[in-house]
């Protein structure tokens, strides 16, 4: 069994590398298609043609696109992510400043959102079509439907401006003590949880109900096994695969997709960095962020698949 899992992981990793390569090529091409280049973007509205030409040479933008791609790729392979053209800082340094913030936010959100989502999903599935289920359904559906900028803005208006309990902005650098930490992260995490919990709970409910309808659960019930044990011991392990995939998809969003939350709470994360990079046509930075998001996504999906395989003996022995 260990051998087969090893093979799967190895296969996935090698296909992951080629995926990354294709993604980098696509992103390079799309960024090149955007109007204007880094030189124009840096010099702004009032640039003279002479300055743009000088800066292009300085930044190496006068070279043909395939050559620039290859030199970027060469740098990547030797571990050099390149330099940001907009402020001449190494890309790795810029990312190192933001990545921990993003990981922290994603981590806290995961730790809170996943258990709540599973709990709600399981409870909802067990009480199918009863009052609790209906209430949870209405709640989760409306949470999925409400855009997060609305949740975030309302939260700020209520908790920061009117009640004054929480800070309107998240300054990761001014954390002093646990109380501060909770106050600072309360609203961003709340906003992210609102969306994620709803999505994951609905997927969990669907996956478990799917199992509860199958003959083996009927059998367990006839044998006199109680409802809780039926769900936890019999249905849940079989539903773990789809649930893990749903969770992985939701979590992959936490790294790159939280731009709205980062903007509203002025949280210096990595999604904002990439948006800046695109606006500045800062190719090396765009590529590095894209590679990171793509790699994180691939790893999460891989973990989800491994969970599914390990939890299911039938897949394990294939």
């Amino acid at each position: 069994m260990n051998n087969s899992i090893f093979k799967i992981v190895l296969g996935r990793l090698s296909s992951g590398v080629s995926t990354l390569l294709i993604v980098s090529l696509v992103i390079f091409a799309i960024t090149a298609l955007l109007p204007g280049d880094a030189a124009q973007q840096i010099l702004g509205q009032f640039a003279t043609p002479e300055q743009v030409a000088a800066l292009r040479i300085q930044l190496g933008l006068d070279q043909p696109a395939p050559l620039r791609y290859l030199s970027w790729l060469g740098g990547l392979l030797s571990g050099d992510l390149g330099q940001s053209v907009s402020n001449a800082m190494p890309v790795s340094e810029l990312m190192a400043g933001r990545l921990p913030n993003s990981l922290l936010l994603a981590g806290i959100t995961t730790v809170i959102a996943v258990p709540i989502a599973l709990l709600l999903g399981i409870a909802s599935a067990m009480c199918r079509d009863r009052l609790l289920d209906r209430i949870l359904n209405v709640c989760t559906l409306s949470m999925v439907a409400v855009p997060e900028f609305l949740v975030a803005t309302l939260a700020v208006l209520i908790f920061a401006v009117h009640l004054g309990w929480l800070p309107a902005l998240s300054y990761v650098s001014t954390v002093e003590g646990v109380g501060d930490f909770i106050r600072i992260y309360a609203m961003p995490v709340l906003t992210l949880c609102a969306v994620l919990v709803a999505q994951m709970a609905r997927m969990t409910r669907a996956a478990i109900i799917n199992q509860l309808d199958s003959p083996y659960i009927e059998m367990a019930r006839l044998k006199g096994i109680g409802p809780l044990r039926r769900v936890l011991n019999h249905a849940l392990p079989n539903a773990l695969g789809p649930i893990a995939n749903a969770v992985a998809l939701s979590l992959s969003y936490l790294l790159g997709g939280v731009i709205i939350v980062e903007t509203i709470f002025n949280y210096p994360g990595i999604a904002g960095l990439m948006v800046d990079a695109v606006a500045n046509r800062d190719l090396a930075l765009v590529q590095a962020c894209a590679m990171l998001f793509c790699a994180a996504y691939l790893v999460l999906v891989l973990i989800a698949d491994l969970c599914a395989i390990l939890s299911n003996p039938r897949l394990r022995h294939q």
Binding site: L34, G44, A168, F265, N280
Partner: protein, 547 residues
């Protein structure tokens, strides 16, 4: 007249020019003006003694006595990884505000936009504006302890001429023929042609003085009132008080943290919830929210920022003068001021000089809203009933709303405008000045001459409408060398009239810049009409009063 030796009763340059401006407003005759100039010589500066210890600052207004100490957090409307501490590359409000914190220029603007001595103790031209001598203040040191010398000034100014620097002020620097140090405390600047506004050009934030040979600007080493403790582009900067600051007793605050919050409602919320104490770029709609809060106040300043309709003279049908004139009659300026900017704007008259500018020509008749006249003119231009696209974008403030109002009034005059909305990303390089009918947005420039040279001279790269007017170009060149303020004012009046009548630019209103602040932040009365944040110079002037 400027080369008099030892003029009796010499006045300081600042007092001198302030007096002249004052007198001009009261309607001083040309003879009187000449007499005043004759005494001291234009821009002849004293040895600094008359400036006193206040070093040229007017009183701080009604906020009471400054207090030392305290830290504030300031949120600007934009911050990104392209934030820079290189003064030459500054491009947004947060850049300018930081440069004012960490650096000084040779000169600086006062509330009337008259250049006052800063790192240069005095400055003088010996030949009517071509050769200038700047004498540096003694005892000024950079944040790293190095004393300020003439070599630093030569380096800081000469670098703007090199295209590799990527300076935003390169077009201003091209008129500088030569900069050289005369000893360690004097710098001589020679221009290609006379320009008596050189001290004003050197007060522009891009022209701040950095240590000679600086390559890495991320440390923010300058002579300014704050030292840079932390700078991470797109995230925040922290400036701490420079205890060795050459201006006695300043600054007042211990620490200023600057961040960017691009989302306007978030910025206002952060102010109202007490997370930040000062914000810029508030919309007219939100200004009311801030006013309603007991602990907060807004400060609205008109610095002459404008969004204009650009009508290219090299394209059809905008090359027809009757069409251009018709479009100018189609602005319902009162409605634009009220509906688009919530009255946080001033009516403009199709020329770029704002009423706050000393050269503003008030006697030029205001062009009214007149669709009937426009209909007649459109017929004359042969475009009656035509269908025309007009390009608008969020990049040019308010242009989309102005375009909608224009569309409505054009309909009454029998012209169908279709609004072509394009994203702000890449607007300036791909759309601005490229369509027959589009919008531009011009930020305030420190002097009328810079504004006109950059945007209206025939040869200017950003001559938005592409108009060519020989008379205008001559006036502009002559005005740079004209020492007589009254004559100069008349020249500017003529130039404004020419633009008003013939240029393919329609300027409906001048837009106010609105700041929001915590009322405990005092000393915010000074107004330097260059932009928000007190013309970006707030750091040196404000203090925190908890009482």
């Amino acid at each position: 007249m400027t080369n008099k030796k030892n003029p009796p009763n010499i006045l300081s340059e600042s007092e001198q020019s302030a007096r002249i401006h004052e007198a001009m407003r009261r309607g001083m005759s040309r003879r009187d003006a000449l007499k005043t100039f004759g005494v001291a010589g234009l821009f002849a500066a004293s040895t600094g003694g008359l400036l006193g210890s206040s070093l040229g600052y007017a009183s701080e207004g009604t906020s009471g006595t400054p207090k030392r100490g305290g830290r504030i957090r300031v949120a600007a409307h934009a911050a990104s990884t392209s934030d820079t501490l290189d003064p030459a590359k500054g491009s947004t409000a947060i850049d300018y505000a930081r440069h004012e914190m960490f650096y000084n220029g040779l000169t600086e603007f006062d509330e009337r936009l008259i250049p006052q001595p800063s790192l240069a103790e005095h400055f003088v031209t010996s030949d009517g504006g071509t050769t200038w001598l700047f004498t540096l203040r003694r005892g000024v040191t950079f944040h790293d302890g190095k004393p300020l010398s003439a070599a630093d000034v030569v380096f800081s100014i000469a670098r703007h001429k090199d295209p590799d620097t990527g300076s935003k002020a390169m077009s201003l620097a091209t008129q500088i023929a030569d900069v050289k140090a005369l000893g360690s405390q004097q710098v001589q600047i020679t221009l290609n042609s006379p320009n008596i506004e050189l001290p004003a050009i050197l007060a522009v934030s891009h022209m701040k003085i950095v240590p000679e040979g600086t390559v890495d600007f991320s440390k923010g080493i300058g002579t300014g009132p704050f030292r840079c403790q932390e700078f991470s582009p797109g995230v925040r900067s922290i400036g701490v008080r420079n205890d060795n600051y050459w201006r006695e007793g300043r600054p007042y605050l211990d620490e200023i943290e600057m961040v960017g919050i691009s989302d306007e409602p978030s910025r206002v919320n952060a102010l109202l919830s007490g997370d930040v104490q000062l914000i810029n770029a508030v919309y007219g709609r939100s200004a009311e929210r801030i006013e309603l809060s007991t602990g907060h106040a807004v400060k609205s300043v008109n610095s002459g920022n404008y969004t204009d309709l650009v009508m290219r003279v090299d394209q059809e049908p905008t090359s027809r003068p009757a069409f251009v004139e018709a479009m100018k009659y189609l602005f319902d300026r009162e409605q634009i001021k009220w509906a688009v900017f919530r009255n946080y704007a001033e009516i403009a008259n199709d020329h770029p000089i704002a009423p706050s500018n000393p050269y503003f020509f008030a006697d030029l008749p205001q062009r009214p809203y007149d669709p009937d006249r426009a209909r007649h003119l459109l017929k004359q231009a042969g475009v009656e009933g035509a269908r025309l696209p007009v390009v608008a974008s969020p990049a040019a403030d308010g242009s989309e709303d102005i375009a909608v109002l224009l569309q409505q009034s054009a309909q009454q005059a029998g012209l169908n405008l279709t609004i072509n909305r394009v994203p702000s990303d890449g607007y300036w390089s791909n759309h601005w000045m490229k369509h027959p009918l589009g919008f531009g947005n011009i930020n305030p420039r420190p002097t009328a001459n810079i504004l006109l040279s950059q945007f209206f001279q025939s040869s200017a790269p950003w001559n938005e409408s592409g108009w060519k007017n020989e008379q205008f170009d001559q006036l502009l060149t002559l005005s740079r060398a004209e020492p007589d303020q009254a004559v100069r004012k008349q020249m500017y009046a003529d130039m404004q009239t020419l633009i008003h009548e013939h240029c393919g630019i329609g300027i409906p209103v001048f837009i106010n810049t609105i700041d929001g602040r915590d009322k405990r932040l005092k000393g915010y009365d000074r107004t330097i009409p260059l932009g928000g944040f007190m013309g970006y110079t707030f750091a040196e002037h404000v203090w925190w009063d908890d009482a």
